[in-house]
Symmetry: C2
Amino acid sequence: MSYDVAIVGMGAAGLQAAISSSRKKARTVVLGRPEDSALYGAEVENYFGVPRTSGKELLRTGMEQAESFGAELRQEDVIEMSKSEGGFKLLSDMGTEIEAKALIVASGIMRKKLNIPGEKELFGKGVSYCASCDCNFYKGKPVAVIGAGSEAAVSAELMTHYASKVYWVAAELDASEGLREKALKAGAELVSSPPKEIGGDDKVSRLTLEDGSELEVNGVFIELGARSTTDMAMDLGVMPTPEGEIKVDKDFSAGVEGVYACGDITGKPWQVAKAAGEGGVAGERAAKYARGL
Amino acid sequence: MSYDVAIVGMGAAGLQAAISSSRKKARTVVLGRPEDSALYGAEVENYFGVPRTSGKELLRTGMEQAESFGAELRQEDVIEMSKSEGGFKLLSDMGTEIEAKALIVASGIMRKKLNIPGEKELFGKGVSYCASCDCNFYKGKPVAVIGAGSEAAVSAELMTHYASKVYWVAAELDASEGLREKALKAGAELVSSPPKEIGGDDKVSRLTLEDGSELEVNGVFIELGARSTTDMAMDLGVMPTPEGEIKVDKDFSAGVEGVYACGDITGKPWQVAKAAGEGGVAGERAAKYARGL
């Protein structure tokens, strides 16, 4: 099947890109699964113009919008990308072959996991990978921030403004001294034993450490950084950074003609607004490129 | 009054910046009037996750969100900006003096007006300054696109995919030849007499030209480009482009320490999603800068 614009990723960035691209009358297809978006399972209250809602609801509406403007949605995973004569060729896990003149990589990132018991089961129920997204849901409650780097330090500091108590769980501190001092001065309590298990019925109530001690917390923020899901783009000549991000210019071109990137994969902050905003521009640019305007 | 972050402009960009900045625990103030936002009076259907709604509704919700996170909203116009010891000083038309460590310019742009009878009265009722925003509302209806440049050519071409008939009203064509040919080949009909008056009861029904002829249209797209509203930022050392845009880097810094810009003022496309997305990043960056994180 042949399109003007193919979009890989069915989250906020990919769906906004589809809305903008199809409104620009580019034949547009989106490949991916909404449940792989970081938005799925999230509560959102910091997206301009939208009262507190669920990520699922935003995704559902976004899918309807994209389809209403003529974009085709295929809930399939892309497993191969290559260049072709007319642009790009994609292969999905369901065997679908897609050709497109322009390609938008909007497949997000995967937060690095701790891989301890309870982490997966309690995700969205007290386990979070983004303090700046979820801070406000933990007003007056005790939380743990796990991670040794500067991002964990910033998150620990931020959470002192919301939580009743902040444990900063970091075996070997790796954060810059300034940020470290700021977090500690703000009241975060450093804990040096590694985390072992997240516990709680239905929602987080405790974090057990390797040394056997237990922290009574309602939130566990895992701040270990990110891993990219789009090594495939390298096959097109796109060079991700060591952090797995794709550098883009102001038109969201990924440095290879006809390839665009948007959303979490272009870097922090991980916000719905940023993802959608980048998707909107990338969608317009890709549509113009594909249609020769 | 003294703040961490002052935001000039109360549209999508300014309000999303306020949401993100105040969630990062920066003391935040927004100055401006929502009715000066391009969003006010617009219908919006291309914003990820939001079913078709009015710009007024988005602005109202955005204002509530910003206030709920602690941002202060002042419906006053900034009439003077200057540098001060601790950052920046603003003066409003109501005599309020504001000091802030960081400044976000989110005051948008003003679309260039034709200044003919009916233009103001029928704005939002068939008169539009953004074809790519409003194209879909004119399906199967006759429209006129007014403007001689390349942007008008692109808009005329786009509208041929929606409208039943597209008159491209341009006295002296200034568009690049490729884009001109594309618009004409797509079916736009060139009209060379200048526009004189937009007519209709309650909504647009006709465009009268200088030569006395009348075009029966339901939509009039005025595509003359933009004029900046933020010459004031020049007093801080920010250098707008000849088009009145403010160039920003990927952190939305405007090239002067502590000054950020976001939204329509940073350039096209003029979209709610782009404005909010840029505001979200600018708000985080400004908050981090002001709080020394």
